[in-house]
Symmetry: C2
Subunit: 609 residues, 2 copies
């Protein structure tokens, strides 16, 4: 045991030294936040984090999530100590082009990093998603999440604690680095470990406090955590900048790299540079469970007038029979979004996250990191609650398949708090995203099925009310495509989702007035069918773009962007969208009020000619 203690202490010193070396070399970074965590990370990587380094993505591996992502240097130092990266690579911290980024991001060179962190408070939800996946796969693996104390002011942390307890995730442990100092000064609770112990306990977790620099105590706590029947919080009393007397426990050192002279003294005080390599413990033997064979059922078909949200649910329920890896998450609105279809048909594929959208997205992110095909759905309006989690998931190169229901003013009487009016803008702005807005059940079914294999963040918008089918079961809907539902030369009406139906009504009325209107269903908002739009701009003198969404950032902006890129400026573009604050009303009244119904389309189409 003494040998292990010596090793852990030496390794901790090395992690500290390496955190100083890399940040001083970079000229920026968070060495003091790394030093407070050094012993905790050392013991974990040396003796607890069971990993097959040659198979970093194996579901049998334990996972470590550095929720306090700014302590990235200590993570990179640990990866070096286990031989995953070499010293020269570690020393490229924060350099342009280096995989060793300022905050951990999953890049190809770092398969041991599976989620991006750096926006605080997000680790626990991602961790719980990973833990769920491990349990689904009967994996003996565990998830370890390191939290900061200042970070734990984020409600998202406790939202995830609630969910982890509810789901009985005994394979999840959080280690809270209680170093007393936040960015500008002391935290709310400073050294009061009880504040966190009591709460964790109230949330149904096992909770214990230790000296975060006593490696024997750390090891004992980790062993205890692994034996619990519930998730465990270990509150570790630490010192920010531990081991470096000139900065230890002092304000003003958050996020500051040490100047060279101080760095030299600090390294000397820590005992100098080491070159310890450790062999992490191996994972337990594990075989993936036998996946049930696909049911081989046909994709759903629809009677006329089915809401796209219902088609979404039906398609997911079908997919659950075809794909063993499918997981569908709900935020207590499954009867509205129709994920309840999965809950009924295939409950083992369904996870209830209750009214907690941040945890909903975080858990989906964790599940997909462990190989699940994760769909999550709630009201489109409520996905704004998790914009930061979506943003971080995109940095994390995650594959998320998200659905926002209750699009636009068309939801009617519930009023604006429940209306998704900014969601197309939100998701268009996400790097590499796919944004889809089907207008009928068959388009929905095809696109939902396609989403199951799309990389990155994909988002599908569904409508509350029932709408007629415009397409049939054999129609293809390529990502980046569109459908020309009517041909015409006098004007093009570009629409998506609910406004496609208004567009068709408008086109019929225009036809009766001798105006031939082309109708484009741009079900793929991003990537958008630039070729079809260019052709329309070339063939018709006016494009009327109509969307049940704010005028900023949505379909209209996507159309303008596509035309500008092509240099096609001959046609005029008129945008119809929501420009004022709605109230309650029927869908028809509200669409008329917003100027996005058939009447408005006819007016827009004819007043310009």
């Amino acid at each position: 045991m003494d040998d292990r203690i010596d090793l852990w202490n030496e390794l901790a010193a090395q992690l500290g030294v390496d955190s100083i070396r890399s940040t001083t070399e970079a000229g920026s970074g968070h060495p003091t936040s790394s030093l407070s965590a050094a012993h905790l990370v050392a013991v974990l990587f040396a003796d607890h984090l069971r990993t097959d380094l040659d198979d970093p993505r194996s579901p049998a591996n334990d996972r470590f999530l550095l929720s306090k992502g700014h302590a990235a240097p200590v993570l990179y130092a640990a990866l070096k100590a286990v031989g995953a990266i070499d010293d020269a690579t570690m020393m490229t911290l924060r350099r342009f082009g280096s995989p060793i980024q300022g905050h951990p991001a999953p890049v190809p060179e770092l398969p041991w990093v599976e989620a991006a962190t750096g926006s605080l408070g997000q680790g626990p939800a991602i961790g719980l998603g990973m833990a769920l996946a491990m349990r689904m796969d009967d994996s003996p693996a565990r998830v370890w999440v390191m939290l900061g104390d200042s970070e734990s002011a984020e409600g998202s942390v406790w939202e995830a604690f609630e969910a982890a307890s509810y789901h009985g995730l005994a394979n999840l442990a959080c280690v809270l680095d209680l170093n007393r100092l936040g960015q500008r000064g002391p935290t709310m609770h400073e050294r009061d470990a009880d504040a966190f112990l009591l709460r964790a306990h109230d949330y149904g977790w096992q909770a214990l406090a230790i000296d975060g620099h006593d490696v024997a105590a750390i090891d004992a706590a980790y062993r205890e955590a692994a034996e619990q029947d519930r998730p465990t919080l270990i509150v570790a009393r630490t010192v920010k900048g531990h081991g470096v007397s000139e900065v230890a426990d002092q304000e003003g050192w958050h996020g500051k790299a040490m100047p060279k002279d101080l760095a030299e003294r600090a390294i000397e005080e820590l005992g100098g540079v080491r070159s310890i390599t450790i062999t992490p413990p191996k994972p337990e033997p594990w075989l993936p469970p036998t996946a049930p064979p696909p049911a081989g059922a046909s994709a759903p078909t629809f009677e006329d007038d089915v809401a796209t949200r219902k088609a979404f649910g039906a398609t997911l329920a079908w997919l659950a029979g075809e794909r063993a890896d499918l997981v569908v998450l709900d935020g207590e609105v499954g009867n509205s979004t129709h994920t309840e279809d999965v809950e009924k048909a295939a409950p083992e594929h369904f996870v209830q996250m209750y009214i907690a959208e941040q945890a909903l997205i975080g858990a989906a992110t964790g599940l997909q990191a462990l190989g699940k095909t994760a769909f999550a759905a709630t009201f489109g309006a409520f996905l704004t609650r998790a914009f930061d989690q979506v943003r971080m998931a995109s940095i994390g190169r995650a594959d998320l398949r998200l659905c926002g229901s209750h699009a636009g003013v068309s939801i009617g009487e519930d009023g604006p708090s429940q209306m998704a009016l900014e969601d197309l803008a939100m998701f268009r702005a996400i790097n590499g995203s796919t944004v889809l807005y089907p207008s009928d059940p068959y388009a929905t079914a095809r696109l939902v099925a396609a989403m199951a294999d799309l990389p990155g963040i994909s988002y599908l918008r569904t409508t509350r009310e029932a709408t007629p089918s415009l397409y049939g079961p054999d129609e293809d809907f390529p990502i980046g495509g569109s459908k020309t539902l009517r041909d015409g030369d006098d004007v093009t009406i570009v629409a998506a989702g609910i406004t496609v139906h208004e567009a068709l009504r408008g086109a019929d009325r225009l036809a009766a007035d001798g105006v031939s209107a082309r109708v484009l269903d741009c079900y793929s908002v991003k990537p958008i069918d630039a070729a079809a739009l260019r052709a329309a701009a070339s063939d018709t003198p006016l494009l009327v773009v109509v969307e049940d969404h704010r005028i900023e950032g949505g379909l209209g902006d996507a159309v303008l962007d596509a035309l500008a890129s092509s240099g096609a400026t001959a046609a005029r573009v008129r945008k119809l969208a929501v420009t004022e604050m709605p109230g309650s009303g029927s869908p028809e009244e509200l669409r008329a009020w917003a100027g996005i119904d058939a009447d408005a389309i006819v007016r827009a189409a004819t007043s310009a000619t």
Copy 2:
């Protein structure tokens, strides 16, 4: 006392009856969620919520926030009972054009509703902001927030509980309507009141549980809450659909209006229609504190090369001396955003919210409802954590003055988790918002001062690095304006913030090559200077729009939108923006990589001619 008990019970029955009447008339709504709250609301409005109905916005009035906003019918029924609205008005629930919306929204006809609710879990933070304002004004008023149990899965609730306790807000009480049933089925905790009591206690609140339909117990609990030295949580055990045996405590009735026949039986069971009017208790006498006179100091001036984030902080500190009603909120990054200048110069104007952006925005929303001029700042990237709160604040007609620092890839080595890349898209899409992105300290100072009086949601984006001053202290920056920093006829470079400096460098190099470039500083991204853009599109054959932001939804889309609205399509528009996922690096390296630096501008300007 018995008289009061009879009154409360009768009033509760009336509130229930009226909730049924209005929702059945509307054909939609949440009567069962209203019935569970009826006794709680009755006792509160009859004997505890001190209000001068003729002066609804008086800071001396107690405030009631219905965080479980879908129970709006019971709130409207209470407003009718106190005579604020009449029955006919109440019965227009959910109708198009009615102020009696599906979820409460502050509209001119309803001055007693000061915040929008309906996206769950947001009431406590808004309530804590109101409570802070009351304390700042030495008002004896109190804030009462009604929460749902399912709603309390939202981490934002506990984030606010933490903050309320930290700030010692004894004038804040939350009443949790523990009716066991969520939208699709039972909540996580069902009837386990202890789950909430323990947590509230460990968050530092007083906490007690009562029978939520025992009016004497409710009254006693409210009196107890008013005497505490800390915030109070009252967990009220209730029955969803209480009093209507056909629906009480039954699943499947969330968000369903009763059909007429059932409504009639329900009303009869509740004892029939009443017409009780109550006189709410009067507020305690109060006089606003004497506001200190403005210091009369001059606006700050700046040496060359000052970061706009520093100018932001300096301007706020100056404003704090001029405006007694100014409140500045920080999310534990005040040394980065420079709100710390206010903390140092005028600590009584400063509120620390720690790492809790949802509570940051919620508290600002509550403060402004009570007449404060509230500024809140954090990293622009972290404002995505509070998009739903911003969205709800806009529905709430709130005046919020928000600043997001650390814009774009230009933050450098910290990497993408800390970069604001989607914030212009997020804020452009908010109804009635103002979006500002100053390029130098003097522009910043002018715009920050202007923001202090702007209605609605205004957002200012600041830069991490120091940049030269381009303007002087006497320059005006009208909202919706722009600055032409260089005249030219061959190409127009449209930029904002950090890219203005790249644009000027690019213009210099183009000039050396004989290409005359106009440079437009579009510091006002929304509303944007469409006239200047139209003129540029008319005068020059090419517009190069360059922004340190995603290519979707930001400055480029705003420019295209302005030009499309005017029909000006002669000029080509080329957008330079961030189109891929950044890593770490220096600001210069990252701007070059993103194709938004002077070199890229020159290439874009010349390759098209």
